[in-house]
Structures are given as structure tokens and as C-alpha cells.
Amino acid sequence: MLEALSTLELTPFVLSFKLAGLTTFILFILCLPFAWWLSQTTSKTKPIFEAITALPLVLPPSVLGFYILIILSHNSPVGAFFDEYFGIKLVFNFSGLVIASCFYSLPFMVQPLQSGFASINKNMLEASYIAGKSKTQTVLRVALPNMKPAVMTAIIVSFAHTVGEFGVVLMLGGSIPGETKVASVAIYEMVEIMDYTNAHIYSAIMLIISFLVLLSVYIFNQKNRAIGQFR
């Protein structure tokens, strides 16, 4: 056991966290304006966008992975475009994983942000407009600082969910060591070749990290709620 620990290959974990960090960062930037729009709009098209956003929650990862694979492969216009003009291949490499993860974790970023924005007192936003501030300034200086638990939840859960993805990653990335072989895929392969010692260690690490992440979110939110009650 100790021997196994000392020779433990950490690359899959590094890869998992790099992927999750990058995905969370990209999603946060992209979802901020989108979630804001969803929370403020009275447009009749809103349910359509909400349904699309929630799709990754209900679709089997294989279905999601299959479609993304089709769209990004060099046979499709999108894949061909990137290949031809930028020389980037989007499948079976790390950038493909990032794109796929962004779709896969989309609802986990959008939904907490949207409900966070919706919970902000409308009058507070209007007071900011009256103070001459633009919508962007209002979001950054008034809305976001008043919904820290929602921002925290969105970021942490998106991150954790990306670390925990498996199906989409396997379909889009395969299992190329150091490139697309993330922790979840590595565990799958260990079980397949019946390397239970390493599978145990990897799984335990994943379990502990995931638990600690979720625990920290709930502790943070409980503290914030306690402050909220004091108001």
C-alpha cells in the first residue's frame, strides 16, 4: 500500500483540476451576462433558453458527448473551420475537453447565478441606475457583492462537477496520458485492468476532496445566512 502511494501517478489529478479550473473560469465570464439577462428579462423566449441551459442535467453524458463530438470533429463545419484557420483540432485533446466541460457544467454555473441575481432587491438595482451607473457597473459593484453565497455556490459546484465528470470526457478525449486522461477516466481504467489498490487510492482521494469542497460551500453559506438573519 505504502509502495503504491509513493509511486502514485498524480498527473490525472493535475489534469482534472486544470480542466476544472479553466472550465470554471471560462464559464463564469460567459455565464455572468447570460444569467443576468435571464434574471432580468420578461421576454417570452426565456423558457427556451432556460430549458437549453438545463439540458446537460438530464441528458446522458454519452448523448451530450456524442453531439459535441460530431460538431467539433474535423468533418463538421465548426471543426473544419478551426482546423483550417487556426490549426487547432478540437477532439481527442485538452482544448476539446475544455469545450465539452463548458457545456456539461453550464447549468451548475448559470442556475445559481440566475437565482442570485433574481434575489437582489430590484429597488437596489434601480437606485444604482438613478445614481447614474450603467448596468455593468451595477452588476459588478452592487449585485455581485450582495449575492456572495450564490457566486460561491456557482463557482465551487461548477468546479467540483467538472472534476467529477466522466462520460463526456471519455467520449471527447479518449484516454491519452497527460493530455486527456483525467482522474475519473484513470480510475475507470484501473478497475478495468483490476488494479484495485490504485483504484482505491484514487477513489478515496476524489471522495475526500469532493466532500471537503461541498462542506466548505455549506459552511460559507450558513455563515452568510446567519449574517442575513441579523439584518
Binding site: M124, A127, Y129, I130, A131, G132
Partner: protein
């Protein structure tokens, strides 16, 4: 001089109605907007602030805020807005709330001085009482040195003592800055103390306007006191009947006849009046 001539279709909870307001307000005037709920008062304020659109014209001095071609966004209108629920920025201190509007420390500390908030300037809104919050909101609204200050039932969430105190502060601010003010209020004593003119709305149109004294004193000329209240209970005491009526914040007992008792149901809105007497007036001993 502010000229308002607007129209807007409203889809209320009860029925559709048209808000149709034609009003001009002198520079420095303190206008109270009164009327039952659902009569369009808040909508009018929101249209003036630019939160809702409408057809027609709004002009302030020589500036057009609204006409067929232009609709100035709230950011471009020189307004202050005091919300009923204060709507302070909870992530900022009292002083930061004011400076968010305009980076003018001198004006901020002057306003905080007038409203006796200087000592609280580094506190956060969620540690303040309702009255303190509303004073901060008032200061914040004045920070942009607005041409028009809009207040939507600013004092209705406060107790009567705090209300009186804030009324004096609003008066002091109005005196010093000569800001034109439109305030939505249901409280006759508040309107009487603060406003120079009162406009009564009903179903989206102006049904009455004039000096508060003329509009609010319903019984002018006759020696009659009249209050409306809610009938809470009727008790039989020996051979007489006693009705308990809630008038404003006060409960009173009134002796009624058996016939009267028969015709009344608990929960009715009743009119309580008395005639031909000499009212006695003395200063009230504060009970709090």
C-alpha cells in the same frame, strides 16, 4: 418648471385603466401624491424616473426627458428616488452609499450632519434601525443634487415618533436645497406638514388638487368630528351594548343601542361622529 403630460395603459389586478396625467410643477414645489392603492401613484413616479415608458411629454426646465423621439434613461435624468424599503447597498458603509452616487465628500458629510448620521458613517446598513436607514436613503437621494426628488411612501414603514422626526428632516433638506419634491403619501398629517400642494389620483386620473388644507379638511365649517374605523367587537354589558372600534392606532369604546347593535356586523367599516361640543386640547404625555 416640470411639465408632465403622459398616458399609459395599465393592466391592474382588478381591471384595465388608463393613467392620464397632465400636471405642471413649479421649481421648488413640494407636491404630495395621494389616492387609494392601485390608483397609479407609484407608476407615475416610475415613469418620471424612467423605469417605465409611457406616451406623452415630460420636460424639466428646458430638458426633454420624454417625448415621441426621446426617452432619457434613468441614468441621464437628474432625479433622486427614496424607496419605501430604503434599498440601500448592503455591501457598502453609510458613507460609501453616498459616495457611490457622487464622489463629493464635502456634500456627503454636510448631508450626514443635517440628518445627524455623522457618527454612523462607517456602519453598514444592516446594523441600522429603520429610521436611520431611511435617513441614509434620503441623503443618498440628495447626493446627485437632483432637480426632482421622488419619494414613494418613504415613511410608511416607520413608527409615528420616527415619522415625525424624519418629516422635520425632510423639511430641513427641502428648505436648504430647494429641490422640487414629489412624494406619495397616505398620511394626511404628513401631507399637511410637508406639502405645499396635494394631488389626488383615482383610477389613473387627477380627481382633486389644491392646498393640503382645502383638500384634507373634510369637515371645514361644521362643528363636527368624524372618524372612520373598523368595528372589532360588540359586547352586551347589563342592559346596554358597547362597541369596540379601532380608529387609526387607537381602540375606543362606544355605547350603542340595541337597534344599532342589530344592524352592525363585526368587521364593518363604521363612521363615528359627534356634534355640538367643545373639544378640549392639551399636549399629550408621551407614553413611550
Amino acid at each position: 418648471m416640470i411639465k408632465i403630460d403622459i398616458k399609459k395603459e395599465l393592466f391592474g389586478s382588478q381591471k384595465e385603466m388608463t393613467l392620464n396625467i397632465d400636471l405642471s410643477i413649479e421649481q421648488g414645489e413640494f407636491l404630495a401624491l395621494s389616492g387609494v392603492s392601485g390608483s397609479g401613484k407609484t407608476t407615475l413616479l416610475r415613469i418620471l424616473a424612467g423605469f417605465e415608458d409611457a406616451q406623452g411629454v415630460i420636460s424639466v426646465d428646458d430638458e426633454i426627458w420624454l417625448d415621441q423621439k426621446t426617452t432619457l434613461p434613468p441614468q441621464k435624468r437628474a432625479i433622486g428616488f427614496v424607496f419605501q424599503d430604503y434599498a440601500l447597498f448592503n455591501n457598502m458603509s453609510v458613507l460609501q452609499n453616498l459616495l457611490y452616487v457622487k464622489k463629493d465628500e464635502a456634500l456627503a458629510s454636510h448631508l450626514l450632519n443635517i440628518t445627524e448620521l455623522s457618527e454612523l458613517k462607517n456602519r453598514h446598513p444592516n446594523t441600522l434601525s429603520g429610521g436611520q436607514k431611511q435617513r441614509v436613503a434620503l441623503c443618498r437621494a440628495m447626493m446627485g443634487e437632483p432637480k426632482l426628488l421622488l419619494m414613494d411612501e418613504p415613511l410608511s414603514a416607520l413608527d409615528s415618533k420616527m415619522r415625525t422626526k424624519l418629516q422635520s428632516e425632510i423639511l430641513a433638506l427641502h428648505k436648504e436645497f430647494k429641490t422640487t419634491i414629489i412624494m406619495v403619501s397616505h398620511d394626511p398629517s404628513e401631507i399637511y406638514r410637508l406639502a405645499s400642494r396635494v394631488v389626488v389620483l383615482e383610477q389613473g386620473v387627477i380627481v382633486n388638487e389644491g392646498k393640503p388644507k382645502d383638500i384634507l379638511l373634510k369637515t371645514s365649517g361644521s362643528q363636527k368630528f368624524s372618524f372612520s374605523g373598523e368595528l372589532l367587537d360588540i359586547k352586551k354589558v347589563d342592559v346596554i351594548y358597547v362597541a369596540i372600534v379601532a380608529i387609526g392606532q387607537q381602540l375606543v369604546e362606544v355605547v350603542i343601542t340595541q337597534d344599532e347593535a342589530k344592524n352592525l356586523t363585526i368587521g364593518d367599516t363604521v363612521e363615528l361622529s359627534t356634534k355640538a361640543f367643545t373639544p378640549m386640547i392639551g399636549s399629550a404625555v408621551p407614553t413611550r
